[in-house]
Each structure stands twice: as structure tokens, then as C-alpha cells.
């Protein structure tokens, strides 16, 4: 591009005039030559467009506001004292919350946060928080259900009486249930006959010396209509059906 001449202007001259053209400092015949070259040169045309776009983007950047405590910090770092004017200027710039956080919260919280940020303490705090949240979950306390109104003294008193009433009622109910249960047990004992009268003599099973399993354990050898309910301790199947109950 450097030595190429198009439309009466070499490309290097176009590039040299580019910044001046973007600053609107070109005029007359020079401007016309520049514009003609830019419109027809396939290399310089895009460069002009990009440079113009970049300039526009840069010009659109707004000036940023320095931090409110910058002046006070500089004065403290240079002269070693906070200037009243500097501090006042900083104060005037910041909002009420910014001033409160800068003057009250920051000095208080900085050492605490510095301590908490140490890995060992951070781990301990994490575990403590975890334990607390698990305990609250187990106790059925939901923080989301907690409202400002719940923290009024009258509400706290009300909640206390309500909770203690519930506990008393719960234990009263438990006592009633236990009482009923013990009465029922007594009735049962009175109503049931003695176990010796009810039990029938059980025939001792014959010993099997053949080494083969007992024939009465072969459920598959019985009829299909017979239902096996269970096996007794004496390895005898309880069978219902046509044969009735066999023990």
C-alpha cells in the first residue's frame, strides 16, 4: 500500500492524513483528495471506517468518578494528615450509607473480616453454621417463617404460652393412652384362660434315620389344591384344605 497511488494520493499519505481527517482538520482540495481515495481504495477505505468507528467508541466512554475517599487517602499518604477540606469533599460526594459504611462499618468490620478470612477460622465458622442449620432443621424451626412481628414481646409471650400448653397437652394425652393400654392388658389377662388348659398334647415327631428328608416336608408331593401356610418349630407344615389341619 505504501507506494501505491490511487486517485491522486498515495496510500501512505492517506494514512498520514487519517488522524487529521478524523479530527476534521482537513479542508479544501486536500479533503476532497482524501475522500476520493478513501472511497475507491480497497485497503484504505476499511482502515478509515475502522479508525472512525474506534474513535467514536473511545469518545463515547464517559469519565469515571473517582472514589470518595481518594483525596483524603492521597493527603494522608503525602502530608500524613487528613485534610479537613479533603474529608469534607469526600463526605459531600458520598451518600449517607456510604459515609456510614466508610466511617463506622469499615473500621469495625475490617479486623473481624481479616480474622474470618483465615482458612482455619473460615472452616470452623463453616462447621458451626452447618451444625446450627442442622439443629434448626431437626427442631423444625424455619427461618423463612420468622417475621418481624414474631419478635415483639407480646408475640414472644404468646408463643411461649402456646408452646408450653401444647407440651402439657401432649403429655396428658400420653398418660391417657398409657392408662388405656394398661387397662386393656389387665382385661386380657383376666379374660384369657391359663395356657396349660388350652394347649393340646403334641405328638413327638418320629426320628428319621434314613438320612432322607421327611416325606411330610415334600410340599410338592401333596395335591395342588393344598395350601401351605407355614412351617412350625417342629418342622411340620400347617396345611389347610381337604385334609384339614394337620400338626
Amino acid at each position: 500500500m505504501g507506494a501505491e497511488t490511487k486517485n491522486g494520493m498515495p496510500c501512505h499519505e492517506f494514512e498520514a492524513l487519517l488522524s487529521e481527517a478524523l479530527d476534521h482538520k482537513l479542508s479544501g482540495a486536500k479533503l476532497e483528495e482524501f475522500q476520493t481515495h478513501g472511497a475507491h481504495c480497497e485497503l484504505c477505505g476499511p482502515l478509515l471506517q475502522e479508525a472512525a468507528a474506534g474513535q467514536h467508541w473511545l469518545k463515547s466512554l464517559a469519565e469515571v468518578e473517582p472514589p470518595a475517599d481518594l483525596v483524603a487517602g492521597i493527603l494522608a499518604a503525602t502530608t500524613g494528615v487528613y485534610s479537613a477540606q479533603g474529608v469534607q469533599a469526600a463526605r459531600a460526594k458520598g451518600s449517607l450509607w456510604e459515609r456510614f459504611s466508610a466511617e463506622v462499618l469499615k473500621p469495625l468490620m475490617t479486623p473481624v473480616l481479616g480474622l474470618v478470612r483465615q482458612p482455619r477460622f473460615a472452616m470452623s465458622f463453616g462447621m458451626a453454621f452447618f451444625s446450627l442449620s442442622v439443629t434448626l432443621n431437626v427442631a423444625g424451626v424455619k427461618l423463612s417463617s420468622l417475621r418481624n412481628i414474631d419478635l415483639r414481646p407480646s408475640s414472644i409471650r404468646h408463643t411461649y404460652y402456646e408452646t408450653s400448653g401444647k407440651i402439657a397437652k401432649y403429655y396428658d394425652n400420653m398418660r391417657f393412652v398409657y392408662e388405656i393400654e394398661s387397662r386393656l392388658r389387665e382385661f386380657k389377662q383376666v379374660a384369657e384362660p391359663e395356657p396349660s388348659e388350652q394347649k393340646k398334647p403334641v405328638k413327638a415327631p418320629e426320628k428319621n434315620h434314613s438320612g432322607q428328608p421327611d416325606s411330610n416336608q415334600h410340599n410338592y408331593s401333596r395335591g395342588g389344591s393344598e395350601t401351605v401356610l407355614a412351617l412350625s418349630n417342629q418342622t411340620q407344615a400347617v396345611i389347610t384344605g381337604r385334609q384339614g389341619r394337620s400338626l
Partner: protein, 199 residues
């Protein structure tokens, strides 16, 4: 009284030990210096620290300022720029852009951008209104090489003229213009790429 005279008086008062004069200087220039540092360093915290360092340096070397050699604002900007360059060299945090133009930034006489990559695409509509767009431009600015970045910051954000910038950067005026042109074009390309990715 003209601005130069006011500043000269202020400096004399300051050198005489008048604390109020120094406070006035700080209040008058902190905004400008903070903005240069912010646009160059990229983050508010770094900008605040650097601004403080700049003022410490100015405070210590105020006696060396010679009003006959140039305006006080140029001297202050030079001090800022030198400190930013030192900071850049020390930290090396700045990432050189993977720019197509990087070779040219090292060699001032290299081929211009337009000749290296003939991109016929139209630049995006340069309407920046929202804060997000400003952040995009600021982020793209951080991707420019330091030489191009400082040139466009001084020209387009601080409105310094080419001669002043040339004196400040200690390079010929033609080099300043070339850097500004390339910086602007490079920024437009970076934003064009970002714009394509977003869309």
C-alpha cells in the same frame, strides 16, 4: 490571572510548605489522573492505588517542575504515564493483545493494518449508550498493546494534542498519529468481534 499563572502560584505556595495549596492541587488533578490510571490499569482498585502513587511522586518531585518547559498538566500526565509504564513492567499483568497489529506496534514502519488484513466488513453501529456497552469498550481497551492504549487514551480520552503526546511519549509526531490510527482501528476490530459473539 491565567491558568498557568494560577498553577505557578499554587506550586510556589505548595513548595513554601502551605498545606492548603497541596490540597488544592490534589483536588484539581485527582480526577484526571484517576481516569488515566483506570483506563490504563483496568480496575478501580488498581487505579486508586496508582493515583495515590502518582501523587506521592508528584509531592516528592514538585520542586523539579520547570514551568518554562511545559504546562503543569503535561508534566503531571508525564509523571502518571511513566509510573504506569513502570507498573506495567513490574507486574506484567497486562496481556499483549493477540492482535493482528502486534508486529506493527513493535516496528513503527511496518505495514499498516489495512494492508495486512483487508477486512471489508462494515464496523458495527457505533452507538454506545448503555453501561454494558461502555464496559465492553473498556474491556476492549485493555486488550490493546500498551503503546497503542496510551496513545488513544491521551488523544481521545484526555484530549491532548499530537505535539503534547509526542513530547510526553518522546516519539515523533508521525509515530503518535500512526499509533492512534492503529489503536482506534484495532479497538474497532476487537469490538466488532465481541459484537459478533454477542449477536
Amino acid at each position: 490571572m491565567e491558568d498557568a499563572q494560577i498553577i505557578a502560584t499554587l506550586i510556589r505556595r505548595c513548595l513554601a510548605g502551605e498545606a492548603a495549596a497541596w490540597t488544592e492541587i490534589v483536588q484539581q488533578y485527582n480526577r484526571r489522573i484517576y481516569n488515566i490510571c483506570y483506563r490504563f490499569a483496568g480496575t478501580p482498585d488498581a487505579a486508586q492505588d496508582l493515583t495515590q502513587e502518582v501523587f506521592i511522586k508528584i509531592y516528592r518531585t514538585l520542586g523539579s517542575y520547570d514551568e518554562e518547559r511545559g504546562a503543569f498538566v503535561t508534566w503531571v500526565t508525564t509523571v502518571t504515564r511513566n509510573l504506569l509504564v513502570d507498573h506495567f513492567r513490574k507486574t506484567r499483568q497486562d496481556r499483549m493483545t493477540a492482535s493482528l497489529d502486534s508486529a506493527a506496534s513493535e516496528h513503527e514502519d511496518a505495514l499498516p493494518l489495512g494492508e495486512q488484513i483487508p477486512d471489508k466488513a462494515q464496523p458495527p453501529d457505533a452507538r454506545v449508550q448503555s453501561r454494558e456497552a461502555q464496559e465492553m469498550v473498556h474491556a476492549a481497551l485493555q486488550k490493546l498493546s500498551p503503546e497503542l492504549r496510551e496513545a488513544v487514551i491521551l488523544r481521545d480520552l484526555q484530549d491532548m494534542d499530537y505535539r503534547e503526546i509526542a513530547g510526553l511519549l518522546r516519539v515523533p509526531e508521525g509515530t503518535v498519529k500512526s499509533r492512534i490510527n492503529r489503536g482506534r482501528a484495532e479497538l474497532a476490530r476487537l469490538l466488532q468481534r465481541t459484537y459478533r459473539q454477542v449477536v
